[in-house]
Amino acid sequence: MYKIIEAKEMVPNIYWMIVEAPRVAKKCLPGQFLIVRTDENSERIPLTICDYDRENGTVTIVFQTIGVSTTQMAKLKTGDSFHDVVGPLGRPSELIDTPIDELKKKSILFVAGGVGTAPVYPQVKWLCEKGIMADAIVGSKTKDLLIMEDEMSKVSNLYVTTDDGSYGRSGMVTKVIEDLVSEGKKYDLCVAIGPMIMMKFVAKLTKELGIPTIVSMNPIMVDGTGMCGACRVTVGDEVKFACVDGPEFDGHLINFDEAMKRQQLYKTEEGRKMLELTEGDTHHGGCGNCN
């Protein structure tokens, strides 16, 4: 069992937890992910590691409730436990393997969307610890859904934007990238993590701007160790497994349209299970009156 040291709801539907997982905490690096299961019958849920404490043997995870399994996870409180935590999985961010001198010469821009701020954080923090302050754009639908502003502002030059203009700059993250560039900023590398659609449009823009871009893919997966192949993504003319070859890939080579279609694979099944959860036995097909 993997004890939850602290749990809280950061903003509506986005949860933050510190979990005891000594083997993961000892080895993980920014960019890697883990898989959790709530109880002995639960689905395996992959989550990017948001922070880690090697000394205390803990990792931090942040997730949004989107289906039955994440809704179950959200019910866990401080002192409860996950049935399983396994990791670290995937390859660490490329930055980790780049010599510090080389990184110091680079101007790096991070772009985070919504809950994607969580996986961006350890990378920005890691750079900051090495003496590199990167620029970071954090986008949120609205002010009330913005997460980790304080944490991010400590480790980066932070630009916050909201889609509805309720806080910080106004508009999508792509607009902020355009603005920063037209304000005279020059970037050698962009790391974008967020909803697939956001990453697609960031990559499209940075391609036009000539900024090499890394994205972190979060496709459907089962084992996370290369066994099932559910997480196939097309990168250039190759098919890769996000779990072992990624999760980070060259954003200019990813086939986002295919990746987004693949994310829909179990929408019907998931929707049905969610109805079961929210409406009990009353409403999950078979009545003949509805679909």
């Binding site: 080895k27 689905e43 399983d84 396994v86 084992d223 160790t225 290369g226 099932c228 099944e269 299970k273």
Partner: protein, 461 residues
Amino acid sequence: MDVLKKVPVREQDAKVRATNFDEVCLGYNKEEAMEEASRCINCKNAQCMKGCPVAINIPAFIEQVKNGDIEKAYEIISESSSLPAVCGRVCPQESQCEGKCIRGIKGEPISIGKLERYVADYASQNGIKPQAAKEKKGKKVAVIGSGPAGLTCAGDLAKMGYDVTIFEALHEAGGVLVYGIPEFRLPKSAVVAKEIENVKSLGVKIETNVIIGKSITIDELMDEEGFEAVFIGSGAGLPKFMGIPGETANGVFSANEYLTRSNLMKAFDEKSPTPIKRGSKVAVVGGGNVAMDAARTALRLGAEVHIVYRRSEEELPARVEEVHHAKEEGIIFDLLTNPVEILKDENGWVNGIKCIRMELGEPDESGRRRPVEVPGSEFVIDVDTVIMSLGTSPNPLISSTTIGLDVNKKKCIIADEENGKTSKDGVYAGGDAVTGAATVILAMGAGKAAAKGIDEFLANK
């Protein structure tokens, strides 16, 4: 009774079982087992034992079944095998023990597999456990992977008195016995879990959720956690795809994914939160045991299922019994047929598989006649799901993170067949990680050989 024929084993009716996940074969009862055992002529020079990769003393255990002393029979099997309830169910006996049986020359061989299964199930139902070691050696051995190779190696080492810990990457122990082979062929809680409990009762510890190569490396296990020897039984987990157009369409799965969802994650049960696609028309590409398992799973989930295989029935690598069961249940075999493209609709969902007819040409290096395309014979099978079952290869995660561990060009770990010794001192390997995808019993044989190798190594250390 006709001594030339096996006592028939009871099975679930094909029509009934095609709609459930309960075990197909119901096994012998005591009378049937004793009657079958009485057919054994107890050869002095027992050929059956030579056909058994773990060399169970087959005539001796059958003799005890004949006498009705099932507990004694179990004791005899346990000396050689840690997983008799599994082997009795999934071993290809027809090409091993039963293939060598003298009775089989004129008539049918003794039903050794079904007898083994009966003995193991009897022991399990009556709480009979294998004997733990009396003296401990005080030396730690790590076993990587809790599949048939790892469980066997761990069980044997524990019986010798070693302090054994198995590291398993998934959340549940059992390896391919749990994620690969379906419930209807190998019941999980009634059979696999009990066999694993037996291995644990020998003193073996199992730590799940540890991925060697990621969570910790072999070098760290030896240098930091005090393990004096390591056995790698990590299997062949990586799925192969064909590399044809359309393979990333929605509705194309590896057999590994499909079976893992259904078996390990229990997605066949609608109550499981893990989803699975219940196709209406499914093509399973491949002709091995895994293909049969995937096909029969899809059938039970309500689909019309086609096996698409490029050679003819004679070359099907699956066990004859599995092919026979699949046919009885209504699986359609499209033989001498090879996919060339997977077709999809505008939303990216599979809506057909384009195939080409094949004919058999000259024998290839495997000795089987090579399938050759018949020009212009392309046709489309309407399907909404495609399951690729083309074999698996070892995961490079361990070999790429262990200093000084040699692999061959197929990424299989190079290990001595005799004793499992690898290029790295103190590190042994066996099973699919060494041979590439093979059978449960061959993996067990390798686990057994490596346990002996490790014992010799540690005794001389």
